[in-house]
C-alpha cells in the first residue's frame, strides 16, 4: 500500500484520472479504489464482514476509531431508508445545488467504452485517489444532512487520514447509521462472492485480449512518468494532504456503491457486476484519463447536451425503478450511482478545468497516435462552468494550477539542455533574490528614516547642547589619567613602539580641577578624530562657561554660603594624612647613621688573608668610596625574611611605588605657588623614605643570609619592581644599593640556583630559574646599569673588589648574571680608558688606575683555570647554544681588552681548543645551517678581535 502511494505521488495527474472515473461511473471508481487500496474482490467481502461484526459490537453508541471520530455521525439524520432513495436519485434535487446534468453520463456507448478502458489497464494502481473522490463525499453529505458542503469538508479534513482500508472502512461509515450499514454489509457479504467470481472470469478474458495494447502503452507511460516525476514532487505535499481527504471520501462512496450493487444484483442476476478490479489503476489507465480529458474538451458542448438528455432519462428511470430495473444495464448503474448532486459536479468541474489546462500543455508533445490509441470510446465528462464554486476547493485548485503553470513554463523554456536551463534558472533566481534583498534593504532604510523623521525638530539646538553637556560632564573626572589608566598606558606603549614621541598623556586637562581621558589615539578614520575634536571644543566651552559662572557667583553671592552644600570641585584626593614627622630630606643623612662610620667590617677583615689581601683592600676602598660600610656595633642577627614576609613587603612596596608614580603625575607645575610645590615635595620625599626603609638596604650586611634586600629580589616581582624603585632614588642611595647587591651577589637566587639551569631535562624548577634569570637580567641589571655607567674608575674598581672579595668569583662567573655583571664592569672601565685622551677631567688618579689593574689581575688569576668552563653546559645545539655562548665570548673579549700581552697568551692557551673547535666546525659545517655557522664564527671573532686576531687567519 505504501509503495503504491509512493509511486502514486509521482504521477502528475493521477488524481485527475481518478476523478474522471468517479464522475463517469461512481461504482466502478469504487472498484478502482478498492483495487488501489489493495483489496481483491474477496478482500472486499471480508472487509464487509469484518465491518458488520464490528458494527454489531459497537452498536450501542460506541464509536469506531474513537480517536479519529469527528462526531459527524451525530449531526446526521438517522433512520429511514427513504433517504436511500434520495441517494439513488429517486427523489428530485436534495440540495439546492443539485444538478443532474453533471453526474450524467453518456448512454450505453460511453459506458461500454469506459469498461473497455478499465479492462485495458489491469496493472497495479499508479494514482492516488484525490480530488475526484472529494466530490462524491460532499454530495453524499449534502444528501444526508442537507448541509452546505463546507461543513462536511471541514469535518472530513479534520479526520486523521488513514490509508489502511481495514481501519478506514469502519471509520467512514460513521456518517451513516449503524443499522443501515449493518444491513447492507450482511447483504453484501453474500452477494459479493458471486460478483467476484463473475468479474474475475471476465477480467481474464479481457486481459488476454488487450495484452499487446498494454505493453505498448506501458512503454509510453514510462516515458511520461519520468517527465512527470519532476513536476509531481512539487505537488506531492499538497496532494498528500488532499489524498487523505479523498481516501475517506472514496471509502464512503464505495460503501454506497456496494449497496447499490447489491440491489442491482438482486434485481438482475444476469447483469455482470461492475468492475471492481484493480485493473483501472494501472499506469496505462492514467494515460487514458489524460487523453480522455483532451477529448472531453473537444466534445464538451456536445456532451453537455447529451448529458442533459440523459439526466432526464435517468430521472424517469428512477421513478419507475422496479420496472426499468431489467432494462438498465450495469452501465447505467454508474450513472445511477452518482447521486452526489451538484457538489460532486462542482468539484469535478473545477478539477477538470485545471487538468485540462495542464494536459493541454503536456500533450502538445504527445504523438497523435498515442492519443488516438487511447481515445477510442472514452467517456467524457462534461465541464460544467456554470456550477457554483466551492471556495475551499477553488483555493486548492488555484494553487495547484499556479504551480502547474510555473512548472510548465520552465519546461517550455527548457528547450535547451537540462543543465543550461538549470544554470540559467539558478542565475535568474539568484539575481532576483539579490535584487529583492537590495530592495528590501533600501526600503527598510527608507522606512527607518521616515520613522525617525517624525521626531525632526523636536529638540532645539540648545536642548541638544544641554544633553551633550550632561553627557560630557559625566566624562569629566578629577583624575583623567588614572580613570583612563589602561588606555593611557597602552597608548603610551603603542606610541613608543611605533617610534612616535609626542604627548605623554592623551588627556584633556582643565586647569587643575579635572579633565577627560581621551583613551588611545585613534588611527585612521576621519570621523572619529573629528568627533573627538568637536567634543574637545565642547568640553572646553562648557568648562569655561562654568568658570565664568563661578566667577560671577563669586562676585555676587554671599561668600559665607559658598560651599555650604558641599564642594563641587577640589583636590580632596590630595589631602593625604598630614605627616607627623616632617623630615627635611636634604638635611637628613642620606644613609643610616650607622653607616657614617666607615670602619672596615671585622668579619671582612678576618677573611682578608692570603691572596685575597688585595681584593680586601679594594673592597674596603670601594666601600669607603661609597661610604656604605656596615657598622657592626649594633648588628643584630636575624633570620632571613620568610617567603611570606618577602611577599608582604613587596606588596607594600608596590603600593608605595604606585602612589609615588601617581604623585609624579600630579606634580604641580613649577610656576604654581611655592607652598603647593613644597608640600608636594614633602609628600614625595616621605614616600621615597618609606620605600627606602622597606627595601631594607640599610640593614647591616651580616644581619641575615640572605640579606633582606636580596630576599626581596628572590621573587620575580621583586626583581621587576626594582627598576621602578630605583628611578626615584638619588644616586647616593643607588650606590649604596649597588654595593649591597654586589656584596651579596652570590646570595641572589639566580646565582645560587644557577646550577639548576644545567640540568638536561626540562623540569619545572629549571623553568622557574630560567624565568627568574631572565627577570634579573632585564630588570635588576637594567636598574643598576645607569649607576655603573656613570661610575668612575674608582667606584668600578671598588665594586669589582667587593665582588671578588665577598663572593665565589668563579661560581659567579659561571652564571649568566655574573658574566653580565663582570662584562658590565669591564666595559665601563674600557669606556673610561677610551675617554681619557679627550677628557682630561675624567683621567683617574694613578692610584685608582693602579688599583683597578690590581683588581683586574686578581680577577684574571682567579678565572684562569676556568676559562674554558665558563661556557654554559651544552643543553641545546645549534643556534640556541651559540646565543647562549655569546655573553661568555663577550665577557672574554672584554677581558682580553684589558689583558696584558702575557695574559693574552694565557687566554689563548686556555681557549685554544674552544676557538679551534668552533672555527673548524663552522668551516666544515657538519650538518649545520648557515646561520649557525655564522653565529659560531661571529662569537669566535668577537673574542679574537679583542686580541687583534680573526677567525679567517686560523688555518684549519
Amino acid at each position: 500500500m505504501s509503495a503504491v502511494h509512493g509511486r502514486v505521488t509521482q504521477v502528475t495527474s493521477g488524481h485527475n484520472n481518478c476523478h474522471q472515473i468517479s464522475r463517469l461511473a461512481p461504482s466502478s471508481s469504487n472498484a478502482l479504489m478498492s483495487g488501489f487500496f489493495g483489496f481483491d474482490q474477496p478482500d472486499l467481502e471480508k472487509d464487509k464482514l469484518k465491518f458488520a461484526a464490528r458494527n454489531l459490537q459497537s452498536n450501542d453508541g460506541v464509536l469506531w476509531g474513537a480517536e479519529t471520530y469527528d462526531g459527524l455521525g451525530d449531526t446526521l439524520q438517522e433512520g429511514g431508508d427513504e433517504l436511500n432513495d434520495e441517494t439513488f436519485g429517486d427523489i428530485g434535487p436534495v440540495d439546492k445545488d443539485f444538478d443532474f446534468s453533471n453526474p450524467k453520463l453518456p448512454e450505453t456507448e460511453n459506458v461500454q467504452s469506459y469498461r473497455q478502458t478499465v479492462n485495458q489497464s489491469p496493472l497495479p494502481p499508479q494514482k492516488a485517489p484525490t480530488a475526484s473522490s472529494a466530490a462524491p463525499l460532499i454530495s453524499l453529505e449534502s444528501i444526508w444532512d442537507d448541509k452546505s458542503p463546507f461543513s462536511f469538508r471541514l469535518n472530513g479534513a479534520a479526520r486523521a487520514p488513514s490509508r489502511d482500508p481495514a481501519t478506514s472502512t469502519p471509520r467512514q461509515s460513521g456518517i451513516r447509521t449503524l443499522q443501515e450499514i449493518e444491513a447492507e454489509m450482511r447483504a453484501a457479504a453474500e452477494q459479493s462472492r458471486e460478483a467476484a467470481a463473475l468479474q474475475q472470469r471476465q477480467q481474464q478474458l479481457l486481459l488476454q485480449q488487450q495484452q499487446q495494447q498494454r505493453e505498448e502503452e506501458d512503454r509510453y507511460f514510462r516515458q511520461r512518468q519520468q517527465e512527470q516525476q519532476e513536476q509531481e514532487q512539487e505537488f506531492q505535499r499538497q496532494r498528500l494532504l488532499y489524498q487523505h481527504e479523498q481516501q475517506q471520501l472514496q471509502q464512503l462512496q464505495r460503501l454506497q456503491q456496494q449497496q447499490l450493487l447489491q440491489q442491482r444484483e438482486q434485481q438482475q442476476h444476469r447483469t455482470p457486476p461492475p468492475r471492481m478490479l484493480p485493473v483501472s489503476q494501472s499506469p496505462r489507465f492514467l494515460e487514458h484519463q489524460r487523453q480522455i480529458l483532451l477529448l472531453q474538451q473537444q466534445q464538451e458542448q456536445q456532451q453537455l447536451v447529451r448529458l442533459q438528455q440523459l439526466e432526464e432519462q435517468l430521472r424517469v428511470e428512477e421513478l419507475e425503478r422496479q420496472l426499468r430495473a431489467q432494462q438498465i444495464s450495469s452501465q447505467n448503474l454508474y450513472e445511477r450511482q452518482q447521486p452526489s448532486g451538484p457538489t460532486l459536479a462542482e468539484m469535478e468541474a473545477r478539477h477538470q478545468q485545471q487538468l485540462l489546462q495542464q494536459q493541454q500543455m503536456r500533450q502538445r508533445s504527445q504523438s497523435p497516435a498515442a492519443r488516438n490509441g487511447h481515445h477510442n470510446g472514452q467517456h467524457n465528462v462534461p465541464l460544467q462552468d456554470n456550477m457554483p464554486y466551492l471556495p475551499q476547493s477553488i483555493q486548492l485548485q488555484q494553487r495547484l494550477l499556479n504551480e502547474i503553470a510555473q512548472v510548465d513554463f520552465f519546461r517550455d523554456m527548457q528547450g535547451l539542455s537540462q543543465a543550461d536551463q538549470e544554470a540559467l534558472r539558478m542565475e535568474a533566481m539568484r539575481k532576483i533574490l539579490e535584487t529583492e534583498k537590495m530592495e528590501e534593504k533600501r526600503r527598510r532604510k527608507a522606512a527607518k528614516i521616515a520613522h525617525m523623521s517624525r521626531y525632526n525638530d523636536l529638540m532645539t539646538q540648545s536642548d541638544k547642547d544641554f544633553i551633550t553637556r550632561i553627557q560630557v560632564s559625566q566624562l569629566v573626572s578629577q583624575d583623567p589619567y588614572a580613570d583612563d589608566f589602561y588606555a593611557q598606558v597602552y597608548s603610551a606603549i603603542a606610541r613608543s613602539r611605533m617610534g612616535l614621541g609626542g604627548e605623554d598623556e592623551r588627556v584633556l586637562k582643565f586647569g587643575s580641577s579635572g579633565g577627560v581621558g581621551l583613551g588611545a589615539p585613534i588611527k585612521g578614520g576621519n570621523r572619529r578624530p573629528n568627533a573627538m575634536q568637536r567634543m574637545q571644543q565642547q568640553v572646553e566651552r562648557i568648562v569655561s562657561n562654568a568658570r565664568k559662572r563661578e566667577e560671577e557667583k563669586g562676585l555676587h553671592a554671599v561668600h559665607s554660603l559658598q560651599g555650604a552644600l558641599g564642594k563641587t570641585s577640589g583636590r580632596s584626593y590630595k589631602a593625604s594624612p598630614r605627616q607627623l614627622l616632617q623630615v627635611d630630606p636634604n638635611s637628613a643623612p642620606t644613609s643610616s647613621p650607622t653607616l657614617s662610620n666607615a670602619q672596615p667590617h671585622p668579619h671582612i677583615s678576618k677573611q682578608d688573608t692570603g691572596p685575597h689581601d688585595a681584593a680586601a683592600q679594594a673592597a674596603k676602598l670601594g666601600r669607603e668610596a661609597l661610604g656604605t660600610a656596615a657598622d657592626t656595633a649594633d648588628l643584630v642577627r636575624r633570620d632571613p625574611l620568610t617567603h611570606r614576609e618577602v611577599l608582604v613587603t613587596l606588596e607594600t612596596l608596590y603600593d608605595l611605588v604606585m602612589s609615588i608614580e601617581q604623585m609624579k603625575h600630579d606634580e604641580p607645575l613649577p610656576e604654581e605657588q611655592g607652598e603647593e610645590v613644597e608640600q608636594w615635595h614633602q609628600q614625595f620625599n616621605a614616600l621615597v623614605e618609606q620605600i627606602w626603609a622597606k627595601l631594607q638596604v640599610m640593614t647591616p650586611l651580616e644581619t641575615s643570609n640572605p640579606h633582606p634586600f636580596i630576599s626581596l629580589l628572590s621573587v620575580a616581582k621583586g626583581k621587576k619592581l626594582l627598576p621602578r624603585v630605583t628611578r626615584n632614588l638619588d644616586s647616593q642611595r643607588m650606590f649604596t644599593l649597588l654595593t649591597l647587591l654586589i656584596a651579596h651577589f652570590s646570595q641572589l637566587d639566580v646565582i645560587a640556583d644557577a646550577p639548576l639551569l644545567e640540568t638536561p631535562e626540562d623540569t619545572p624548577g629549571r623553568d622557574d630559574v630560567d624565568r627568574q634569570t631572565q627577570a634579573f637580567l632585564s630588570s635588576v641589571m637594567q636598574s643598576i646599569l645607569p649607576t655603573i655607567v656613570k661610575g668612575e674608575l674608582r667606584l668600578v674598581a671598588g665594586l669589582l673588589g667587593l665582588l671578588i672579595d665577598r663572593n665565589d668569583t668563579v661560581a659567579i662567573a659561571r652564571t649568566k648574571p655574573g658574566v653580565a655583571l663582570l662584562t658590565l664592569l669591564l666595559t665601563r672601565v674600557e669606556l673610561i680608558k677610551q675617554a681619557m685622551p679627550e677628557d682630561n677631567a675624567s683621567i683617574p688618579s694613578p692610584e685608582d688606575a693602579e688599583h683597578w689593574q690590581q683588581m683586574f689581575d686578581h680577577l684574571f688569576d682567579l678565572l684562569t683555570p676556568h676559562f674554558s668552563r665558563l661556557f654554559p653546559t651544552r643543553l641545546a645545539s645549534g643556534e640556541a647554544a651559540e646565543s647562549q655562548d655569546q655573553p661568555v665570548w663577550q665577557f672574554l673579549a672584554a677581558l682580553a681588552l684589558h689583558a696584558t700581552t702575557q695574559q693574552h697568551q694565557v687566554l689563548v692557551t686556555s681557549l685554544r681548543e674552544k676557538v679551534l673547535e668552533n672555527v673548524v666546525s663552522a668551516k666544515k659545517g657538519w650538518g649545520m645551517s648557515e646561520e649557525e655557522r655564522e653565529a659560531k664564527l661571529a662569537n669566535v671573532d668577537l673574542f679574537l678581535h679583542a686580541l687583534g686576531l680573526e677567525s679567517s687567519q686560523i688555518a684549519v
Binding site: 617567603h643 611570606r644 614576609e645 611577599l647 608582604v648 613587603t649 606588596e651 607594600t652 603600593d655 621573587v715 620575580a716 616581582k717 621587576k720 619545572p764 623553568d767 622557574d768 624565568r771
Partner: protein, 92 residues
C-alpha cells in the same frame, strides 16, 4: 609594625601576595593547576600563565581507578566559579 599583618585586611590580600607568583589552584571537576598568577578579581576569576593542568579521571567502571591527564597552556583565564582554593605551591 608587623610585616605579616600589615596590608592584610581581607582574605583576598593573601591572594594578592601571590600575584606574579606561581600558585596552586584547585578546581571543581577534579582539576588542579599550577601557574603564575597575573590577575584575579572578586569572583576569583584568575589569569594564569605557564599553566599546567592536572585532571583526575576517575574510571568508575573498573574499581574506581584514577588516571591523570595533564596539559599545559601558556595563558589561561580561569572562571572563578570553579575555583576551590588558591595557594602557593608547596615549597620543596
Amino acid at each position: 609594625m608587623d610585616p605579616l599583618s600589615s596590608g592584610i585586611q581581607e582574605p583576598f590580600d593573601l591572594i594578592r601576595l601571590s600575584l606574579s607568583e606561581r600558585v596552586f589552584v584547585k578546581l571543581r571537576g577534579d582539576r588542579e593547576m599550577t601557574g603564575i598568577l597575573h590577575a584575579y578579581d572578586g569572583h576569583m576569576n584568575l589569569i594564569l600563565s605557564d599553566v599546567e593542568e592536572t585532571i583526575m579521571i576517575v574510571d568508575e567502571g573498573a574499581a574506581g581507578t584514577v588516571s591523570v591527564a595533564k596539559r599545559k597552556m601558556d595563558m589561561l583565564f580561569v572562571r572563578g566559579d570553579g575555583v576551590i582554593l588558591v595557594s602557593p605551591p608547596s615549597r620543596t
